[in-house]
Amino acid sequence: MKIPKPSRARSAWGTTVMALAMTLASAAVLAADPPKQEEVPFWAIGMPKNDTASKMAPVPAFPIPTAADKLPVSKLKLPPGFKAEVWASGILDARGLRQGDKGTVFVSSLFVAGKIYAVVDKGGKREVKTIAEKLMLPNGIEFHKGSLFVATPKDIVRYDNIEANLDNPPKPVMVYDKLPGDVPHGWKFIKIGPDGKLYVPVGAPCNICMPDDKHGQIRRMNLDGSGEEVVARGVRNTVGFDWDPKTGDLWFTDNGRDWLSEDLPNDELNHVTQTGKQHFGFPFCHQGDFADPEFGWGKSCSDYTKPAMLTGPHAGTLGMRFYTGKMFPKKYQGAMFIARHGPWNRTKKYAADVIVAWPDGKGGIAKSEPFMTGLVANNEYLGRPVDVMVMKDGSMLVSDDHNGAIYRISYKGK
C-alpha cells in the first residue's frame, strides 16, 4: 500500500486533470510543468508489503538532550580497567567529533539540530557553544591548521582561525560548492588524509538504485577544492573512515542496503589498497558475497572488492578511528574502534555499541570484539553511538546523538 506503484496511476490521472485545466488557461505552462512525483521518503522505497515492515522507520531521537544525571553512563559495559564518564551533555543531536589544536572539541549534528557546536574544557567543566546553526544536515566536519571545515550535502565551507573566535565565528569561506545536494545519504563524513587531501564521500542517493558516475563514491580533493578525483567506487554510504598509521591505507565503514531481509545484508568495513581502482560492489553485490536481487543479475561478486570485515545487518556502522593514543593497553595500539548506531530496519534491535577490530597485517582483519556495550534494553536504545575520537591524552570520546551527549572512555588499569 505504501509502495508508490498504485499511487502513480492516481497521480497520473490527477496530473492529467490538472494539465487539462492548465491547457485551457495557458498552453505555454503545460510544457513547463512535468508530472510531479509524490513525495515518499527515500528510506521507505523498497519496503515489503507487510505490517511488520510498514511499522519500521528510522528511530526518532528525542528533540531534547537528556539531562546529565539521566544519561545511561552507568549502563555502559567496558573491558576491565576501563571507565566511562559523561564528558559533555546538552548537545542536541551530537554526531561527528573533531579536536582543534587548542583542545576545543567540535561536534556536528544532522536532521534534528542542524548545528555545529564547540565544546571548551574550562577547568574540568565543559562549556558548549553553538557556532553555526540552521545548516542543512551538517554532519561532516574536519579540523586542520586552525580552520574548521563543515560539509553539508551541497557544499564544504571553512571557518578560519575558529578557536580564537568561538563566540563570534568568522564568515565561512567557500571551499567547494559542486556537491549534488541530495538528502538521501548526502550528509558527509569528511577527513583530511596523510596525503594532505580532503576526502569527501558522495553516497548513493537512495536505499537501492543505480547511481550515476557522480554518486556511490569516496572522492578526494585539494584543500582549496581543486583537483577532485575518485578514490573508491561502489560505496553506498560511508559515515566513517580513517588511515592505518602503519601503512597509510584508507579503511572505511559502509552501510548496507535496507529492506532486503532482517538478516541480510551486513554493513561492511572496507580496505582501500589501490586508490581510484577498486569497486566495492554497490548496487550489484552486497557484503562481498550476495548479489542484489534486482541489480545483481548478470553480475558476479568476484568482480568487486570484498569487505575486510562484516559488521552486522542494518547495524548502522558509522564513525571509525585507529587508536593512536598511549593511554589504552598495548593490545589496542593500531586497532580500529568502530561505532555502530544500531539498526532501525530490523525487528530485533542490537549493536548501539563500539567494537574494536585488529588488522591482520595482510590487508584483512584478524579479529574483532565488543568494546563499549549496554545501550540496548527491552528492544529499545538507551543511547546510540555515532562517532569515536582519540583525545590527545589517549582517552576516547564517543558521541551519542540519541541523548545529545559525549562520553569519555579512559583506562585506569586493573
Partner: protein, 201 residues
C-alpha cells in the same frame, strides 16, 4: 469565533506567555503550577486541552513524546504556525518537557467533537484507514504512542487540514513517516479519513 475575537484572545495569550516565560517573571512570583501555566494553552486549545475552536487541535491525551516534538518544531520555526512559534520561542528545554509531560497525562477527549457522523463517509473512512494501515502506528484504538499522534476524537477540520498538509509536503513532520504514508491518497479521500477518525464508532 470571529477573526477579531480570535485576535483579541491571542493578544491576551501572548501577553500571558510573556508573563510566564519572560525574564522578570520569576522574580516576584512564586513558581506557578503546571495547572496555572497550562492556562496559556487552554485559551485556544480548550479546557482540559479539548478544543472547540475551528482548526485548533485538542491536546488532551496526546503522547508526551509527540507533544514535545511539535513544541520543538514550533520553537525552531520548523512547523509553519506563527502563533505557536511565538508561543514556543521563549521556552527552555525544561519548559518543553514540562508542557509535554503535562499534556501527556491529560485525559483524552471522552467523546467525538460536535457534529454528527455521516454513515457513508464513516464507511469510506474506515476502509481507507484499513487499506493504508493507519492503526499499525497509531494503534488499533488510534490513541497514538511515543512520537505518534493520537487521532481518536481529534477535531475533524484539524485532521483534514493536517492530512492535506502532510500529503502536499507542506507540513514536515518530526519524521517523514506521514509524508510517506499519505502519498497516493486523493485529497477528497483524506476528508473522509478525517471524518472517520474524528467520529470513531
Amino acid at each position: 469565533m470571529s477573526l477579531r475575537s480570535l485576535r483579541d484572545k491571542l493578544a491576551v495569550v501572548l501577553a500571558a506567555a510573556g508573563f510566564l516565560f519572560g525574564p522578570g517573571a520569576v522574580l516576584a512570583q512564586p513558581k506557578p503550577s503546571m495547572q496555572q501555566r497550562f492556562l496559556v494553552c487552554t485559551a485556544c486549545h480548550g479546557e482540559g486541552g479539548i478544543s472547540s475552536q475551528p482548526l485548533v487541535p485538542s491536546l488532551a491525551g496526546q503522547p508526551s513524546f509527540y507533544a514535545i516534538t511539535q513544541l520543538f518544531l514550533f520553537r525552531e520555526g520548523r512547523r509553519g504556525n506563527e502563533v505557536m512559534t511565538a508561543m514556543a520561542k521563549g521556552m527552555s528545554d525544561d519548559d518543553l518537557r514540562a508542557f509535554s509531560d503535562f499534556i501527556g497525562q491529560l485525559p483524552p477527549p471522552p467523546a467525538p467533537p460536535a457534529g454528527t457522523a455521516d454513515e457513508l463517509r464513516m464507511a469510506r473512512g474506515a476502509a481507507l484507514a484499513q487499506q493504508h494501515r493507519c492503526a499499525s502506528c497509531h494503534g488499533s484504538d488510534f490513541s497514538g504512542g511515543k512520537q505518534v499522534a493520537r487521532l481518536a476524537y481529534q477535531r475533524e477540520d484539524y485532521l483534514s487540514q493536517t492530512l492535506q498538509e502532510f500529503r502536499a509536503g507542506k507540513r514536515i513532520g518530526y519524521t517523514q513517516a506521514m509524508n510517506e504514508a499519505l502519498a497516493g491518497i486523493p485529497p477528497e479521500a483524506l476528508q473522509d479519513l478525517a471524518h472517520y477518525l474524528a467520529h470513531l464508532p
